[in-house]
Point group: C2
Chain length 420, copies 2
C-alpha cells in the first residue's frame, strides 16, 4: 500500500518546488490547519499510539523507553503548541542578506531560499514527527520522516492529520511524507539519495548518529552527542562553582548538554570536599588520585570510584561525574579539545586571561563563562522550536532553528550585460 521510496522522493521534490512559491501567510495557514486537524483527531491518534505502546510492551521494551513513545492528551497539547510556535516564527525565506550594484549596472542580491528536501531519521518520540514537519514546511522544504518502526502507528496517524490539515489549509500536502517500511534498507536508500535529498538529520542515540554519518552520501547535520566539561579555576567562588556543577550534572542527566567530566585546577581542589558532600547520594564520582585525595574522608552516602581513561571519553547520560585534576588552563583546554564532542564547555573563573583563552581556544558550539552548560537549547536561547543541536562546524552549529534548513541564491538582474 505504501509508495516506494523512489516515488516518494519524486513527489517530495515536486512538492518542494511548489512550496518554494508559497508566501508566509499561505504557509502559516497550512500549519494552523494541520494543528487543528491534530486537535480534532485526538481520539484516533491516541488509539493508534496505544497500539504502538501495547506492541512495545509485548516486545519487552523498557518502561523508560515506552514513556518516550507514549502520547496522552497533555502531550498532544504540547505537540499542537509546537506547531503553533513554528507558525509564529518569522519566515526564514526570501530575506535579502546583501544586495549591491556592479560597475556595469548588474544588480546582485543574495537571498535566502529553502535548502530543498530534508530527511529526518529518528527514534521513538512521536513529537519529533510534528515538530520537524512544521519546521520544514515553514522553511519551504519538503520532509521525509523516517521514525522508528515501534512508533509507526502513531506516526501514520499524525502524518495523516498533518497532510489532511495542510490540504484543508490550501497548502502542499505532498511536502510531508512518512517512510513506512521500517526496514534498515530504507535508511540506506535515504542516505544515498543524492539526487533527491538535500540534507539528512539523524536524531537519536550514539549508534544511530554514527550509522548515519558513516554511511551517508547526502549532506548530514550531526546532532546531539555531548561529552561536556566544566573546568574550575582557583579564582572561582567555591560555593557558586558547586551550584553550577550540581546543576550541570543533576538537573537532567540524560540530555546532551549535561556535564560529564569536571576538570579542577590543582589550586582549586578545595571545591572537592564541598562538592562531595552535596553530590553524595545523588551521583557517583569517578576521580583521579589528586581530586580523590582532596575529598578527604568521603561522606557515607558518596559512591566514589577511581577514574579510568575510558571515563574521559564517555558521555554517561547518567548520575555519574568524572573528575580530573589539571595543572593549568592550557591543560584543561587540551583535555577538552581531545575528549569533547564540540558541544558545550564551561569555565568557572574570575581570571580574565583564562576566560578569554578558553573562549578562543575551545573548539565547541557553545562556550560558557561562569554558567551551567544546561542552557544550550533552542528554547533557552530564544529560538522557539529547534531541529536539534548541531555538533559539527559545517553549515550549522549549535542549537538549530529554521535557518539550518535554508541556503542562499544569488539573483542577478541585468539589462543585456555581457562580459568584456
Amino acid at each position: 500500500m505504501a509508495d516506494s521510496l523512489d516515488d516518494i522522493f519524486i513527489t517530495l521534490k515536486k512538492a518542494q518546488s511548489e512550496l518554494a512559491m508559497q508566501n508566509r501567510a499561505a504557509k502559516d495557514r497550512a500549519l494552523a490547519a494541520a494543528a487543528a486537524a491534530i486537535n480534532r483527531s485526538r481520539a484516533a491518534i491516541l488509539e493508534a499510539n496505544s497500539r504502538d505502546v501495547e506492541n512495545a510492551r509485548k516486545g519487552g521494551m523498557k518502561e523508560s523507553l515506552v514513556d518516550r513513545l507514549l502520547l496522552n492528551e497533555k502531550r498532544i497539547d504540547s505537540l499542537i503548541e509546537g506547531i503553533n510556535t513554528v507558525k509564529e516564527q518569522e519566515d526564514p525565506i526570501g530575506k535579502t542578506q546583501a544586495g549591491w550594484t556592479l560597475p556595469n549596472g548588474l544588480h546582485v542580491e543574495r537571498v535566502t531560499v529553502p535548502i530543498g528536501v530534508a530527511a529526518i531519521i529518528y527514534e521513538s518520540r512521536p513529537n519529533v514527527t510534528a515538530d520537524c514537519a512544521a519546521l520544514a514546511y515553514k522553511a519551504g522544504c519538503s520532509i521525509l520522516l523516517r521514525g522508528s518502526s515501534t512508533a509507526l502507528e502513531s506516526n501514520r496517524a499524525l502524518v495523516r492529520c498533518i497532510r489532511e490539515g495542510i490540504a484543508e489549509g490550501g497548502g502542499i500536502a505532498d511536502a510531508v511524507a512518512l517512510a513506512e517500511s521500517g526496514s534498515r534498507d530504507e535508511v540506506d536508500v535515504i542516505l544515498n539519495a543524492r539526487d533527491y535529498i538535500d540534507v539528512v538529520l539523524p536524531r537519536g542515540g550514539h549508534e544511530l548518529i554514527r550509522r548515519v554519518i558513516e554511511n551517508a552520501k547526502v549532506p548530514v547535520i550531526e546532532t546531539g552527542e555531548g561529552n561536556c566539561h566544566i573546568y574550575v579555576e582557583p579564582s572561582a567562588d567555591i560555593n557558586n562553582a558547586v551550584e553550577i556543577i550540581l546543576n550541570a550534572k543533576l538537573q537532567k542527566p540524560g540530555v546532551c548538554n549535561a556535564a560529564e567530566t569536571l576538570l579542577v585546577h590543582k589550586d582549586a581542589l578545595a571545591v572537592m570536599p564541598v562538592l562531595a558532600k552535596k553530590i553524595a547520594g545523588k551521583a557517583e564520582l569517578r576521580c583521579d588520585a589528586a581530586s580523590k585525595e582532596a575529598i578527604g574522608a568521603p561522606p557515607a552516602a558518596l559512591v566514589l570510584k577511581d577514574a579510568t581513561e575510558k571515563d574521559w571519553e564517555t558521555e554517561f547520560l547518567d548520575y555519574i561525574l568524572a573528575v580530573k585534576t589539571v595543572f593549568s588552563c592550557d591543560e584543561a583546554i587540551a583535555h577538552i579539545n581531545r575528549y569533547g564532542t564540540k558541544h558545550s564547555e564551561a569555565i568557572l573563573t574570575n581570571d580574565l586571561n583564562s576566560a578569554e583563552k578558553f573562549r578562543c581556544q575551545i573548539d565547541a558550539a557553545c562556550v560558557y563563562v561562569n554558567a551551567s552548560t544546561r542552557f544550550t537549547d533552542g528554547g533557552e536561547f530564544g529560538f522557539g522550536a529547534e531541529l536539534g543541536i548541531s555538533t559539527q562546524k559545517f553549515h550549522a552549529r549549535g542549537p538549530m532553528g529554521l535557518e539550518a534548513l535554508t541556503t542562499i541564491k544569488y539573483l542577478v538582474t541585468g539589462s543585456g550585460q555581457i562580459r568584456p
Copy 2:
C-alpha cells in the same frame, strides 16, 4: 624526507589553534612577508617549475595542459598580487553576527570563527597553491595542499617560500603544509581524516570532483561543474539576446560559467537565423528539429548537427552549443532543473511573470535575468580572491570568498546562572 600524513595532520591542527589567536594585523604581516619571500625567490621558483614542465613534456602532456602548469615572471607577479589582495580583505573572523541577553542575565553572542583545518585537492595550476594558502591563513585556518604530482617541484618551491615568509613575518608557518607523496592513497587518507580535516575542497575536472564527493568522509564543498543554460523568450530583444548567447558561449568556453545549452521558446525561434549567422565558424550548433528548421538555409561556415539526449547533460567546455525548443517557461525551468548542475542559469525576457517564476523556481547558485552567465565569479561579484564556485547548497553556495572557511561559535557569559 617528507613527514607522514598523520604527523602533518597533528601539526596542522596544533598550528590552527595558535593561528586562531592571531589578530588581523599579525595575519596580514605574515601574508605580506610570504608575498615578499616569493618575490625574492623568483629564480628558484622558475627553476623548479621548469623541471616540472620538462618532465610533463617528456611524459607527453598536451601543450594546453602544460600551459596551465607553466610559471613565468608575469604569472609570479599575479600570484603575488593575489596574496596581497587577500591581505587587503576584511578579516572574516571575530565578527559578532548577533548578540542578546536572556531574561536570566546570560549574555549570548554569535561570533565567526575559523572552520579549522582545510584541505584542497587540485590539479596542475601552481597559482592555486598560493591563492588557497593565503585565503586559509587569512581565515585563521590551517591548510593541507594536495596538488598534482606533475606540479610537485613548483609547489614545493612555492610552499617553502610561503612558510619561510610567514615565519619571518612572525606568523605560524606550520599552518601551511604540502602533501608530497603524490600517491592516490594519499587522497584517500585525506578524505577519511575526520579527526583532523574540517573541510575539503576539490578543484579540478569532473573526475577529480566525483572521486572526492563519492569517497569523502570529511565535509566537502563541491565546486566547478557548470552545465549552464540560457533560455530565450519571445519578449526578448533578438539582437541583444544573440549578443548575450555569443558572450556566454564564446568569450571563454573552457570555464564553468560558460553556457552549454540554449533553450528557445517556440515563439522566439526568430533568434535562430541571426544566431546561426553570427556563430558560424566560431562554434558548432547541436539543434533539435524545430530550432534547426528555424535556421533555414544554414550559413556556409556553420557546423550544424542534430542534438541527442546526451547533449542536454554534457558540459562541453568547448565551442559547442546545444539548442532545444521549449513550449513554455515551465518547460524551460523543468529542463534546467533536470539537466543543470545548479551553477548559473539565465532567462532573457521582458515578461515580468516569467522572470519572477524563473528566479524563484530555478534551483541554482546564480540566477540571471537578461545578462550573460559569465559573471558568476568572485572577482566579478566584487569578493576579491575566491576559493572556487560552490555548486552545492550546504554550507556555501556560489562564488566563495573567505566566509566559506568560517563557522560560528556561541559565547555565553554568565555570573553563576543555573537552569531552574
